[in-house]
Amino acid sequence: MKRLMSILVLLTLLCRGGLALAEEQVSAPSTPAIAEQAETKIDTGDTAWMIVATALVMLMTLPGLALFYGGLAKRKDTLNTMTMSFIAYSVTSILWIIYGYSFSFGPDLSGLIGAPVKAFLKDVTVKSIAEVARTIPEYIFIGYQLTFAAITVALVSGAYIERLKFSAWLLFSILWMSLVYLPICHWVWGGGFIGALGALDFAGGTVVHINAGIAALIGALMIGKRKDTTLIPHNLTMVLTGTGLLWFGWFGFNAGSALSAGGLAGVAFINTNTATAMAALSWLFTEWIFSKKPTLLGLCSGAVAGLVAITPAAGFVNITGALVIGLLAGIISFFSVTKIKTLFGYDDTLDVFGIHGVAGILGALLTGVFADPEMNELGRGLLYGNPGQLYKQAIGITVTIAYSGAMTFIILFVIKILTGLRPHVNDEIIGLDESQHGEKAYNLHI
């Protein structure tokens, strides 16, 4: 605890200093700041939708993901697992307004990072409008992007649960969100080089899912196997509830990425629902054939795989594209989880890489294949005479994998030195709820 505290204090000082420094460098007044004066024609309909979309994505993490992961965890590790999502969301919420938003969406500094001119939301007023979303209040755009950062961090936790120190996770949330999410988010959406290069990512296939998936894999390898490497969900009704809330919230995630309430949101919405249903069913039938029984966990896992795979494509492909993406997402994720994992033998507890990583890559590539200009003129895929797109997608994916992988390694390495990664083996055996939090998920006797 003491140690952790000092570390946190240090971090605070560092970041303060960093901000100060950075601000000097940026002489130019933040362009959006100007933009505000210019034109403020907020559309109440778009705003209504985006407020709700933001709330929906928040719901995905709390309680959505917390329930999904918590139900899959062992009873004795349930609370710790849920706490990881809670910490991820809370920490991100604070850091996002301090410097996160500015680093990712501030005026671009040579394609690499945003200028921290909006640290502590400086100059953002009730009338402000962000350049990338001209019809809604900037505060809503800030909140919307915040929820994306938060869930990305939370997603990673699924691969680390049942054996990571609580203090280590706290540090990880802070460092990973700052050093991995922010840059990648800027590169793809904030005016950085990946976006400039024309790689398509409608709602976060690379930024969110591939990114989290790789961090999950690297972490699983570095943290090492659990004592008991089984995955026997302690409460599948929780898993189903979480899946339902994720699906529900994902409409805000994908249709919300249209940043307005119109036809494009409609496209993203129907594609999301179609691919998800398709993936749930294709996983179900695949497991029915290959492991005898159709399961509820299969439906839930497939649905999530479908949601992930359609994310980058939602606002670009047509309904046929959605069907194919969903179909493949369910089948391929099933094998990546059952075969690949056992082949390499890493302990990705809840298959974050197996589902988010793999389905994320699949979706990002297929976006380059199925992007239909009739749905969204901004995207033209292989099938519509633009093979080059596939190449751009590949670059986006590769860069994300390389950077996220490397940084995650470094971050965990540092944390290992600072606080250590794993609790005492006995603490792992009696369960992290007891050892890290001194709580029990259920007190049902009496």
Partner: protein
């Protein structure tokens, strides 16, 4: 005074209780949820394509304390009520008991039952 411990299948409880009541044997009994391991093979559960064998099967343990002369009668009832003929039907264990006391009244011995 004897104590009968019977390990039976979950869904046989009602039949056994009914049988014992009709036979007018029991004044009472105590039931515990247990998990049993024996000749009966466990079943396979598959989560995310990985198989887990559940070797401990849910069973119920019935404890009945009664007077020596009633034991055989009770055993017979349990035998034909709890039986399915399939592996895993369970066991009946009989042991000796030195004394019994009814907390409410303090009565001891057979009248405590």
């Amino acid at each position: 005074m004897k104590k009968i411990e019977a390990i039976i299948k979950l869904f046989k409880l009602d039949d056994v209780v009914a049988g014992l009541s009709e036979a007018g044997i029991v004044c009472g009994m105590t039931v515990t949820e247990v998990r049993g391991f024996g000749r009966q093979k466990g079943f396979i559960e598959v989560y995310r394509g990985k198989e887990y064998e559940v070797r401990f099967l849910p069973k119920l343990k019935i404890e009945i304390v009664l007077t020596d002369e009633l034991v055989e009668k009770a055993v017979d009832v349990i035998l034909n009520k709890a039986k399915t003929g399939e592996v895993g039907d369970g066991k009946i264990f009989i042991s000796d008991l030195e004394d019994a006391i009814r907390i409410r009244t303090g009565q001891r011995g057979e009248e405590a039952l």
